[in-house]
């Protein structure tokens, strides 16, 4: 018998005795108090995961909450797989020589297959898009994050940079979907005073959206003026420094709301991504696009990728065409 041997089982199923054996150890998790904490949070230890990492994931349960929303799914799935989301890119505004942004109502949307940069965003149809960047298709220039950043930086109105430590060749579709649009519903304006907008910093560039303001006391906030309000019903808004001045408020206080853009905007990325077949931005990548007589673009037959995904889904759900 050689120096190293393994158990030999003979034809007659008798076991031969062995001397020195060579083995490859296999790592096994040992249950300890951390696993009990994990049970309380319904979070299991990953194979070969140490205490420190497991503890960090458990603490994450109360911060990046799991929920039935898109982001909640991402949070939960990513955490359970040990792939927590992370800050990936920062998008900011290009400023003019006067220190004010070149885009008046800027907005950025990160969608399933595109990143849309709005120069002038408006809830009605008359918005103005600066760039629509395809991030979904392998052949496109912005399939990787570094290319996406380069593309954004060619914009006249926006700049982008990679957060330190993030791999430049990460897929752009890893970006967690979101936008820079924020809404403030309940701010209080004080009589005959400047009211600083809650989500702006004094002396910083504008983030509030022009035309987005609404007031609970419409008879008091009647006319927006450019300079100092001098007559009843007049008010002025400094969109750049972020404050509101009213001529008078009879009751002492008045409520108002507005929307604003969050800049600089830091987008997260997640190696776990979720796609919905209800998402138009995604489904148009799965179906051939047909233009109707009315000019409307609708989904036609599935393309190659769409077919593959649909078949895969039917396979997993045990439902078949025609069933």
């Amino acid at each position: 018998m050689s120096e190293y041997s393994i158990a030999g089982i003979s034809f007659a199923f008798t076991v031969t005795s062995v001397g020195k054996v060579e083995l490859v150890p296999e790592r096994q998790n040992i249950v300890n108090r951390f696993d009990e904490h994990g049970d309380l949070l319904t979070l299991d230890r990953l194979p070969e995961e140490g205490n420190a990492s497991f503890r960090q994931r458990m603490l994450d349960v109360t911060v990046n909450r799991g929920s039935p929303t898109y982001e909640g799914f991402i949070n939960n799935l990513a955490r359970e797989l040990g792939l927590s989301k992370f800050k990936a890119i920062t998008i900011d505004l290009v400023l003019g020589s006067d220190g004010e942004p070149l885009a008046t109502n800027p907005r950025v949307d990160i969608l399933a297959s595109e990143v849309i940069l709005y120069k002038e965003w408006n809830s009605s149809e008359d918005y103005e898009i600066d760039k629509t960047i395809n991030i979904y298709d392998l052949g496109t220039d912005c399939y990787y994050l570094s290319d996406l950043i380069n593309e954004i930086n060619t914009s006249e109105y926006f700049t982008a940079s990679l957060v330190s430590g993030v791999r430049p060749n990460l897929l752009s579709t890893c970006l967690v979907r979101g936008n820079t649009h924020r809404r403030e519903d309940q701010e209080v304006a004080w009589a005959d005073q400047q009211t600083r907008l809650k989500d702006t910093e004094w002396g910083t560039r504008p983030r509030t959206h022009e035309g987005s303001f609404w007031f609970s006391e419409k008879n008091v906030f009647v006319t927006e003026v450019a300079g100092e309000p001098e007559n009843p019903g007049e008010y002025s808004i400094d969109y750049y420094n972020g404050y509101l001045v009213s001529y008078d408020i009879p009751s002492g206080t008045g409520r108002f709301g507005y929307t604003y853009g969050e800049f600089p905007y830091t987008a997260y990325a997640s190696l776990v991504q979720l796609y919905s077949l209800q998402d138009e931005n995604f489904t148009k990548k799965l179906f051939a696009q047909e233009v109707l007589e009315s000019g409307e673009e609708v989904n036609a037959l599935p393309n190659a990728e769409g077919s593959e995904i649909i078949h895969q889904l039917y396979k997993d759900t045990k439902v078949f065409w025609g069933a």
Binding site: E22, L23, I30, H37
Partner: protein, 544 residues
């Protein structure tokens, strides 16, 4: 090193012993003498109580996720032996036939090296109680910077906190503060420090630490960044340091033991390094006051409870740079310029064999000032007689000293040593009244000195009887449980600490470097034929 050879496996004194003995009246020998027969008996049970108390303390902390011991056993490596493998057998001293531990070799740095079976082949010694077997440089080095380096309290709000070198708990060190309470109208405000920033889990938090005395305090939260720090109700000239590892902590709080003096009252125990004429000593200190309310009011002076001389494996003195208390353990890791030492931090138990022939009904006892019985080498103990039966004055008496090296001498009242062979050492007492005698013993050896006073009495029937009372004076020293030459990258460092994840870091004054301690042990599951190892080896060999 075998089980019996490990210094910590030798018998030791528990701090619970004195806590129980303090139930006796203050004047009793049982309470005032730490090596009295009563305390020797108590110590047996006290060691068990101490172990239980420590386990309870650890479990209480493990109840909370953020404070749960990150060093809990979380993995091990299993190797299933083939069906035909049979363990050898051996006969115990009782004649029982048991399995013989196999010979296990593990591939370490491409070389098959024999590794030891854990003591008693059990999980506790496999993972928690075992000593490290190797230390290697962890190939990670970070430039060190305190979050807030030493700054006066009045200026701290204007200091921009630095980025955290290591995420985790923060350590706040307060120095030279004199104000502990401020009264405004009908309210008292106490000294505190507030830290604002992001926790390690990404939430924006504020934590306020009450500061009880000049020392180092650990935050409850673990941090990833600090944005703002301010202090309240502090002396403007007090100094504050905030850092990710407590390099400013001196002395270090011993979280595993409590100081219990003879006069009662449990106190926080501190450990620190000092130098005597021979080398480094580990000094145990505690507050003079037991009342934390008084301590918060500024009465935070400490006193030295004991000092243990630190020796290397060759029983030579060392010059230590720094040490840390291994969490949830009695061990300390200590470094000098070239080596890492692992010591047990408890006071060793003195050799008591010379006290065996002490008389049962002594009429004269020996005491020291403050009942001190532990000394550092080179110190002098002043011993005083204490007559217990004033109606019986001895006609003569003599002092006998047993030194740790085994020599015996009679001692004159001036402290002179008389060889046993040349004198009988008797000193005649005054006939009418007894004056308590004081002699000084200078201790130049390590170990237990036994001082004996033998008194001779004339009884009513003109017969003579003698009585012997003894006193132990102890100069403790400790040998390392393990000792390693440091990798070149880690030599010459000035401090070591363990971070919030249980990783070991060396500090050389400008950067911190990660070190990894390995524990090359195995346990054998004889029934299921599985060998469990603690470290990750590419392969192992097992031979019956």
């Amino acid at each position: 090193m075998t089980l019996e050879d490990r210094p910590s496996r030798r018998y030791r004194r528990s701090w619970i012993t004195q806590r129980i003995a303090n139930q006796f009246a203050p004047w009793t020998h049982a309470r005032s003498c730490p090596v009295s027969v009563a305390q020797q008996i108590i110590n047996v049970g006290a060691l068990e109580i101490q172990k239980t108390e420590q386990q309870l303390a650890e479990e209480a902390r493990n109840m909370h996720l953020s404070d749960c011991n990150p060093l809990l056993m979380d993995h091990a490596y299993s190797s299933e032996l083939p069906a035909g493998f049979s363990f050898g057998e051996t006969e115990t001293v009782d004649g029982a036939i048991v399995y013989a531990p196999p010979t296990v070799c593990a591939e370490i740095n491409d070389v098959l090296t024999e590794i030891a079976i854990a003591e008693d082949n059990n999980i506790e010694t496999f993972y928690y109680d075992c000593l490290p077997t190797r230390i290697v440089y962890g190939e990670v080095q970070k430039i060190w910077d305190d979050v807030i380096s030493e700054t006066t309290a009045s200026e701290i709000s204007s200091v921009e906190p630095e980025e955290l070198v290591l995420e985790g708990h923060l350590y706040v060190t307060l120095m030279s503060n004199t104000i502990w309470k401020t009264r405004f109208k009908d309210t008292y405000y106490f000294t505190k420090i507030t830290i604002i920033g992001y926790s390690r889990k990404g939430t924006y938090i504020t934590e306020t630490l009450p500061l009880r005395y000049n020392g180092t305090f650990k935050t409850i939260n673990q941090w990833s960044s600090v944005e703002e720090v301010f202090v309240s109700h502090v002396d403007g000239n007090a100094k504050v340091v905030i850092s990710c590892l407590p390099f400013s902590e001196d002395p270090i709080v011993d979280q595993w033991n409590t100081a219990v003096p003879i006069d009662g009252g449990d106190r926080i125990q501190f450990l620190g390094l000092e130098e005597n004429d021979y080398g480094s000593i580990l000094v145990g200190r505690s507050f003079l006051n037991a009342d934390m309310e008084l301590i918060r009011m500024g009465l935070d002076d400490t006193r030295r409870d004991y000092a243990i001389e630190l020796l290397d494996q060759d029983s030579l003195n060392i010059t230590a740079e720094a040490f840390l208390c291994k969490p949830y353990s009695d061990l300390i890791y200590l470094i000098d310029a070239n080596s890492l030492y692992v010591y047990d931090r408890n006071v060793p138990y003195p050799e008591l064999e010379n006290t065996a022939d002490q008389s049962a009904d002594v009429r004269m006892a020996l005491t020291t000032d403050d009942s001190q019985w532990i000394y550092s080498r080179g110190e002098t103990a002043t011993v005083t007689t204490r007559i217990l039966d004033v109606g019986n004055i001895p006609i003569c008496y003599r002092f006998l000293l047993y030194t740790p090296s085994g020599s015996k001498y009679y001692i004159g009242l001036d402290g002179s040593l008389w060889p046993i062979t040349e004198a009988d050492g008797w000193i005649t007492s005054p006939e009418t009244s007894w004056d308590e005698q004081r002699i000084e013993i200078s201790m130049s050896e390590l170990g237990a000195y036994t001082l004996e006073i033998e008194t001779k009495y004339k009884e009513l029937d003109d017969t003579h009887i003698t009585r012997k009372a003894k006193l132990i004076l102890f100069v403790p020293s400790v040998l390392p449980e393990a000792q390693f030459v440091l990798p070149d990258e880690l030599k010459g460092c000035r401090d070591i600490k363990i971070d919030s994840d249980g990783d070991l870091w060396f500090y050389n004054g400008t950067s911190v470097m990660k070190a990894i301690l390995y524990h090359d042990y195995f346990i054998a599951d004889y029934a299921k034929k599985v060998i469990w190892t603690r470290e990750d080896y590419p392969r192992i060999t097992v031979e019956p």
